[in-house]
Symmetry: D2
């Protein structure tokens, strides 16, 4: 019998984390199908990824609200089916007991929390995944350019990078599901390689950018020339309130804007606007307006409207990433895992943004590594 | 010096044909870039496809309107740049002189027109492409089940199949750019194989279905469950008026509905509605509404609106197909060429509907065959 | 103390009826605000309309499903707030007990049900409102051209007209909330006038047509010329399934198409398409695409997408109509009440389709009559 | 014979001005119908407004490009019919000769230009209309709070107010077709009243806000509660480039946001985003997303997409305003004319934002005054 796998969620009391934990419990109890879980489809279902059933959840958070209450609120908001939080209350309480306060802790204390979690549960490994709120955009700091220097200045790191650093020091693979700085610093990359740890990121590709990552290659494939691509994102709830801060919105918009530059042949007039609309609750609506040029200069337009629930879109990808990263660690990957680009808006170590080619790459890697 | 290649357009005075001929002349004269021409991009641009410069146009039609006048009308409607028809008037007149009346001709007479065209211009080969109006849906007829039987009943064929039959009898590769029956009869397939002729079809993938062919695989790749997909097509001009006839609309809608069944894992509630809106002229607007289910049953929606000019979208693909089919003939392909599925809503000989995989297949085939 | 007012719902177990009854109970219990109830706003709130608190519900239906169960289903579908059906269970049971089977009854039996309801509850009057499924379009029959003739052929009437006839024979005001024939027969109009009974209809203006009734006047006010107006309606649930029948859809589409002809100065290319999409449940989505011409022939486009819940939109209007019709009866109106055009897609006795002018007319009438 | 009326356009070489002048010439020559001209419809067509035929155009501008060239560019961009600029070249040249450079002129020099224009052409009056680029938002300055003080500080005024001041000093009625400060200063209002001059503004209601001004009252009329209204405006060309400056965009967005506050019963979460998309040329696309609440708290959504040509929408309103303001001056109106609210996003002197009620007010005023 193999040891279970730990999943440590930074932002463990947030909507994405609670949906992930509730969903994993529902899958374990056979209460739902794994809709949205890529790792539950062929060919991955036949590979030796750690089963969802074996995942043990813990995390860090700066708030205190208990998980069953948070899950009830998500059910009221239509994210979780009514009644489900009650059915998996035991699992929610178990995870709740493993979420440690993060406020005021230095990196050593964060590391100790991770080590303690792994040891108390006898876990084969713990995958740390950052699903906390987006931070303002980071300004490059020469102090973080090498591990030697970064180590001495480690308490000056942005929060997301402090968690990443703690993960690596605890020997844990790390995933950035947000556009925050996290592990994207030369000093941390150096550390990960030195410790033989894989990592991946950043910014889970859940909605508007997912659609862009298939539509942009469509234009390229057909030699149609995209002229402008204007996106508007109306975001409710916590994510939207957080992104009402222009500095954080800029970080997010920057991440969203990676796709077109890499996929399209010609430069395009691009904009990404993020607007907080509290009334949308846990939901978001994105409207994208694309102008393009066809044969003999004919001007045409494509618009799309995406109405999605970010937590419901993110949670199965978090489960996928926990499983794929545990697998990557097991098979000895170290440093960035570019084959996981499929999951991210702004993939570390890859400039491939076409969803279909990213998928092919994921399959190839997973099958070969297995 | 290699001999030029003929392109014989069934429906040679229609909007698609006139845009194709005008565009080829504009490309030859260096007046425009090959936007929308897939064969003008890498890796195809490096392969020995017959150059656009070498194409010679002819065709069949049942109307008499002359090409320069038709081109002027398309310029008024915004399909062609104002002024362009005047600049390529000589080429339009040359093509005009090679468009033969089709009214009342038997298959032998149609065949003779093709042979005469090839011989008078010393063409290496003639690719016949059907860009005429969509016919009502065909009812299978046992008389057409073998070449032997079909030959005896050939004058009972639907018009599109009569053109296909003439093409094969004249030794020409054949392309169905419409959803009409055309070459999709066992007797004609038998004839094509016997004569060593390649063919492809059907129904050029120019707009709504093009978008579907990337969005549907996106849902599959992400294990999201599509529940309903409702499409509404507002079509102006000749195409729309023709499709105002419910029997013809049914043929078109049938062709459009192929994508989802083959791409999606689960059955989906699908509808395709076609509406003639004369005021749209040469333009069309499609609105698609998709409902899908994510993790834990969360219900989400994607809508898109496509505002395109069908002739401008079709014409570069017609040039592509002329070049790829001439190439296929040259390298000895016979029967259906499934590797051309990339270009069609309802590809003959292929059940692959994902645009990106179709593209990979096209590249593989063309590079290997070259 | 004035006697209570009865509301008799034809189709009393359908979604609209159940939402109406549940909502009235919630209002009575102070559990909700009267959102969507026009009669609860100024100036109507100051007029002597019968209070919602005094309404007593009954009805006819051909199905047996009990109201609390139907209400639970509506709560599951997101139409009613979860928990509400349980809170008003007593009122639902009370109404349930007053819903009579309609199957196989002749007009006299239907009439007797109404009279019995009024007498048993000591009601001041009973307003009969048809909220049953839409019937196929009616073909005019000379037998229904006068009351004398219609009386002799009354069992040949369409169902909706049989209910209307029964209402009048029982001395009840009548409202057609559907596009079915109902009271729109010369013989029934004659009867209503003879008995001194007011009536109104038809087809409650709840969604797409509501929007049309403000957008179409906007174009007229600005002297902009509408060229085409294409509407697509995706309907889930019972209403959609019923309208999947082309004959019923035609009746509905006809009713929806009244607005433009009366409001716009010039003829317009109009279409209304109705599509059943079971997955939408109790919800509907309408997409309208409008092309219009401005100064110097400039062509422009307006599109809108309406995502609504028909029962939630209809129910407060049913309460409004019950109150306004009781009021009309009380103040002695007889025959059609054109001042209620505000509520209908295809108002009987009025060619006014501008919502704002209809509203002004409603206010004027109600204030003067009070 | 009455004397002709002058129309002095501030920004006389801009797109709106050129479309206005070209259109007036086309109307005079019988080359087009007055589509979009409200004053050309009943009942106004029967009132003694100065005929379009009698209008004489002049203006101020800071650029030198000549009008025929500007008109040709608008024809290339699809705003004017191809060929029209050539047909009205004489009128364009005549207006061109009356457009004076504004650069570096003090208010007295601007005034002198107006007086000279009126005298040289023997005009009954000159209506000054500001159609220049939007200025950054103005910060209230106590120096402008009275005419006495403002006069002494007049060269510190924003440009738009300098033109307004010159208009009043020259005895001309004034219209603000932009959201710039213009005449909206207590000192200028005082001057207008003292000189017996009418004025109106501000910000012509041409697109998104026009639609809002009918949709917002629709919700109110139906007692539906709007929860959020998020607008995104993609603007091409000169207007968009100008509004790419956040300070100017803020001025515009402020003006656009007036409607909801005055029309809706409850506070609403509103946002207006303006994005420059150069590729759109003279066109704009607005997408509005509205969430609203119906009976029993049901949440619903309305979205609309407006694709319009601002110059083509504005020009007929400029002609209307020239005629109505000349009429107002003739009948002795002084100070703001609130009855012209129909034409503006942010009407001076009125809090009425419902288009239909604004229209009724316009009709009442014009008919009574005539």
């Amino acid at each position: 019998v193999t040891a279970p796998t730990g999943v440590w969620l930074v932002g463990g009391r947030g909507s994405v984390a609670v949906t992930t934990i509730t969903g994993a419990a529902a899958l374990r109890a056979g209460l739902t199908a794994p809709t949205g879980c890529v790792s539950a489809t062929e060919p991955f279902v036949s590979l030796p990824l750690p089963p969802v059933q074996s995942l043990v959840f813990g995390g860090h958070d700066i708030t205190q609200s208990d998980l069953p209450k948070r899950a009830e609120k998500l059910a009221d908001g239509g994210v979780l089916p009514p009644g489900l939080p009650g059915l998996v209350r035991d699992e929610l309480l178990a995870a709740d007991a493993e979420i440690r306060p993060a406020e005021g802790k230095d990196i050593d204390a964060l590391t100790a929390d991770l080590v303690s979690f792994r040891e108390r549960h006898g876990l084969a490994r713990v995958v740390v995944i950052n699903v906390a709120s987006t931070e303002p955009r980071y300004r490059p700091d020469p102090a973080h350019a090498s591990w030697e220097s970064l180590r001495r200045h480690r308490e000056s790191l942005p929060d997301s990078s402090r968690y990443a650093c703690a993960a690596l020091l605890a020997g844990c693979p790390y995933v950035d599901f947000t556009p925050s700085t996290g592990i994207r610093l030369p000093g941390l990359d150096e550390l990960a390689r030195a410790r033989g740890l894989p990592y991946a990121g950043s910014d889970g590709k859940t909605g508007e950018t997912l659609v862009k990552s298939v539509l942009a290659p469509m234009f390229t494939r057909r030699a149609l020339r995209v002229r402008s691509w204007s996106g508007t994102n109306l975001l409710g709830g916590g994510d939207g309130a957080n992104l009402a801060d222009p500095a954080r919105a800029a970080a997010k918009a920057g991440s969203k804007a990676r796709v077109l530059g890499d996929v399209l042949a010609d430069p395009v007039e691009e904009s990404v606007h993020i607007q907080h609309v509290a009334d949308l609750g846990e939901w978001k609506t994105a409207w994208d307006h694309v102008t393009f040029e066809g044969f003999l200069g004919a001007r045409m337009t494509l618009q799309f409207t995406w109405q999605g629930c970010d937590s419901a879109l993110a949670a199965p990808l978090v489960l996928d990433l926990a499983r794929f990263m545990a697998f990557a660690h097991q098979v000895g990957a170290r440093g960035p895992v570019p084959e996981l680009a499929f999951f991210f808006k702004d993939p570390i170590g890859s400039t491939e943004h076409s969803l279909e080619r990213q998928y092919a790459e994921l399959v190839r890697w997973a099958v070969e590594a297995a």
